[in-house]
């Protein structure tokens, strides 16, 4: 372990090693998200992720936000374990009938001010699952949605970009709920 840690000490962080344009874009984008989040919310933006019936593809990419390439925690954006600690609910999936109540209760358990971000094509309108006996529809059929991030699943960069959009709206006086 010592050898590995030692190597890590002397190696450039992966996030700043930006020979490729998209790596540079990530660093720039994440920095902007961090600045806006701080202006609006002090030091942090706490996100509670809720899977309302997704295929788990969106969860994989939301997980990737925390890997060393995107590392959203550097900027004070973090995922929290309880809706009581959250500023933002990040909801994925078509809302299934079996998850409807759980989603409503999670929303009601989140203190104001709060924002809801619907991530993925299914979360907009149910996607290819719309019309099923087991699916209610998109997230906005159940709770008010402030922002929708498209993609199937949206790549981590797109999710970051979406959070930036939300923060800019919030920073320019867009009302939280």
């Amino acid at each position: 372990m010592r050898k590995l840690l030692l190597q890590s000490l002397f190696r450039q962080p992966l996030t700043e090693q930006a020979p490729r344009p998209d790596d540079a874009a990530i660093a720039e984008l994440a920095a902007t998200v961090g600045r806006t989040a701080r202006r609006r919310l002090g030091r942090s933006l706490s996100i509670r992720e809720v899977d309302a019936g997704s295929c788990n593809g969106c969860e994989l990419e939301i997980h990737a936000l925390s890997n060393p390439y995107y590392d959203v925690e550097r900027f004070g954006i973090r995922f929290v374990a309880s809706p009581r600690h959250a500023d933002v609910l990040l909801v994925t999936g078509p809302v299934t009938r079996n998850m409807r109540e759980a989603l409503e209760r999670t929303y009601n358990a989140t203190p104001d001010p709060k924002w809801v971000v619907a991530a993925g094509d299914c979360a907009r309108d149910g996607g290819c699952f719309a019309g099923s006996y087991a699916v209610v529809g998109g997230v906005s059929a159940i709770i008010p949605v402030d922002l929708h991030i498209p993609g199937c699943p949206p790549p981590p960069m797109t999710i970051l970009r979406g959070l930036l959009g939300l923060l800019e709206e919030a920073g320019s006086g867009g009302a939280a709920r």
Binding site: M1, K3, L4, L5, L14, E49, V50, D51, A52, G53, S54, C55, N56, G57, C58, E59, L60, E61, I62, H63, A64, S66, N67, P68, Y69, F79, A81, S82, P83, G93, P94, T96, R97, N98, M99, R100, E101, A102, T106, G127, C128, F129, G131, S132, Y133, A134, V135, C152, P153, P155
Partner: protein, 503 residues
């Protein structure tokens, strides 16, 4: 004890079902099949319904033959398989929820996927209107002094899928875990019925997002079997390349995440880097990080990009270079080993009984791998080992993944070497008569079963069975006697799919 061949001979052969036989049997033969499952001569590969029929896919453990037996049940009742062979239980409860068919003498008649919120009963059967009725679900009892219950979910603390776990604990020790699933039930089989092959292929790729390539492949192979289509060699190789990249990415993610659940974040960070490299290479090669919607019936939706092979080789090389030091780190960190060794043990007998696939089965002595048996192209022409261990603990499930990472690295390299120019798709046909196909494909999690019937170029009925069906129940067994705090670790070492199971 009847062998599979005896059961097949006892039934009436159904025409145009490929590649393995399907026979229509009487209830006596159905019962003797349940007996053979209980005796261990056969393994259950799947159990699914139609409005007035039940099907059972069987694997003969001595010959490795596969066959499907079907029982017509015009009175909407059939003899319970679970009464003799418990791994069939959740599947039977599902058949009741979706089709309204009753398993006679079932040991558990509680609903499974139906939480009383669909506004109808038997949505794929009689579709009887029902008022929303969220009646309390009766959990199994656990009685004794000083026991307490811990309800967890459906919304969990991390970024994971929804499901409910009901722990009964004595102090810190878990006495019983009971799962309640079905929260992500989207009615995929209902949506598929009557849809075009293209629509159904998109749905198949969204059954479980982490296995989108494997599901796409299973569905495509079933369609191709039904229509007796042969896919061009280049498409076969590229499909396997994507399947191995998917396995690689998921295993790397899992190894890191398991260690993270033992609070060893260093492994998580390093494995996360390698996983990201693989996903970026997949994006460069196929235009999508998870390679979704690229495997389609008949071949591939698009070819690998010009820079794809080089991007994949570079990612493989990076994993090859860095992974051994991570394995060494895992193996030499005593505090981590203290958490994983001897934790969450699945006995080989249970793995065999439930025909558990993937790393869950292979860590407990069951070496089944659909790439080997029944086997499919191009794996018959590639060199790879199927690692098997018998300890059955979290550590063994980590080691199986480590060994499979190495195998997938080798396989992906072999496939790139073998790649030659050529067509990547053949057109589908519209058969004049209904035809049926079945396929068994090895996803990263285990064997995925796909069965379907085509009629007039559309899907009449399709059933997709996730490996998790036979792994979730083993998690209940594995956690017994462990401490509550080790549950996340055990759960992650299984990494069962909620969405794939709930459909």
């Amino acid at each position: 004890m009847p062998a599979l061949i005896d059961l097949i001979r006892a039934g009436r052969r159904v025409e145009r079902h490929n590649p393995w036989p399907r026979v229509s049997v009487d209830s006596g033969t159905w019962r003797s099949a349940a007996g053979a499952l209980a005796d261990g001569g056969l393994s259950l590969l799947g159990l699914w319904g139609e409005p007035a029929r039940v099907h059972m896919a069987l694997l003969d453990n001595s010959t490795s033959n596969i066959g499907v037996i079907s029982l017509d049940c015009p009175d909407r009742r059939y003899p319970s398989v679970a009464a003799r062979h418990r791994p069939a239980l959740r599947l039977e409860r599902t058949i009741h929820d979706l089709f309204g068919l009753v398993a006679i003498e079932t040991p558990d008649s509680r609903p499974w996927l139906d939480h009383g919120r669909w506004q109808m009963h038997a949505p794929l059967g009689e579709r009887l209107d029902a008022a929303p009725d969220a009646a309390p679900y009766p959990f199994l009892p656990a009685e004794g002094d000083s026991l307490h219950q811990i309800p967890v979910g459906p919304v969990h603390a991390g970024i994971i899928e929804p499901g409910h776990f009901r722990f009964t604990a004595s102090g810190e020790t878990v006495v019983r875990l009971e799962q309640r699933l079905g929260y992500t039930h989207k009615g995929i089989e209902g949506l598929m019925a009557g849809s075009t092959v293209e629509q159904a292929a998109r749905l198949a790729g969204r059954v479980s997002g982490d296995s989108t390539v494997a599901y796409g492949l299973a569905f495509a192979q079933a369609v191709e079997a039904a229509q007796q289509i042969v896919v061009p060699p280049r498409a076969v190789l590229l499909r396997a390349l994507m399947a191995e990249l998917e396995r690689l990415a998921n295993h790397l993610g899992d190894i890191g995440a398991i260690c993270n659940d033992a609070s060893f974040a260093l492994m998580h960070a390093h494995c996360g880097v390698l996983r990201e490299r693989v996903l970026r290479a997949a994006d460069a090669a196929f235009g999508h990080r998870l390679m979704r919607d690229i495997v389609v019936p008949g071949g591939l939706a698009r070819d690998i990009t010009g820079e794809g092979p080089a991007a994949i080789r570079a990612a493989l090389e990076q994993v090859r270079r860095h992974f051994p030091s991570l394995v060494e780190l895992y193996d030499n960190t005593a505090s981590l080993q203290d958490r994983t060794v001897g934790t969450g043990i699945v006995t080989p007998a249970l793995a065999r009984q439930f025909a558990a696939g993937g790393y869950v089965g292979r860590a407990s002595g069951r070496g089944y791998d659909a790439r080997r048996s029944p086997g499919y192209h191009p794996y018959d022409g590639l060199r790879f080992d199927v690692p098997v261990l018998s300890d059955g603990d979290v550590n063994a499930r980590v080691w199986i993944r480590i060994r499979e990472v190495e195998q997938s690295l080798s396989l992906a390299g072999q496939i790139l070497d073998a790649l030659e120019a050529g067509p990547i798709k053949v057109p589908l046909q519209i058969a004049p008569e209904p035809c049926e196909g079945i396929a068994l494909v090895e996803g990263f999690r285990g064997d995925i079963l796909a069965w379907l019937r085509l009629s007039d170029g559309r899907i009449e009925r399709c059933h997709l069975r996730d490996p998790s069906w036979f792994q979730w129940p083993l998690l209940e067994a594995a956690i017994e006697g462990n401490i509550v705090a080790d549950f996340p670790l055990c759960n992650k070492s299984f990494n069962c799919s909620y969405s794939g199971h709930d459909l």
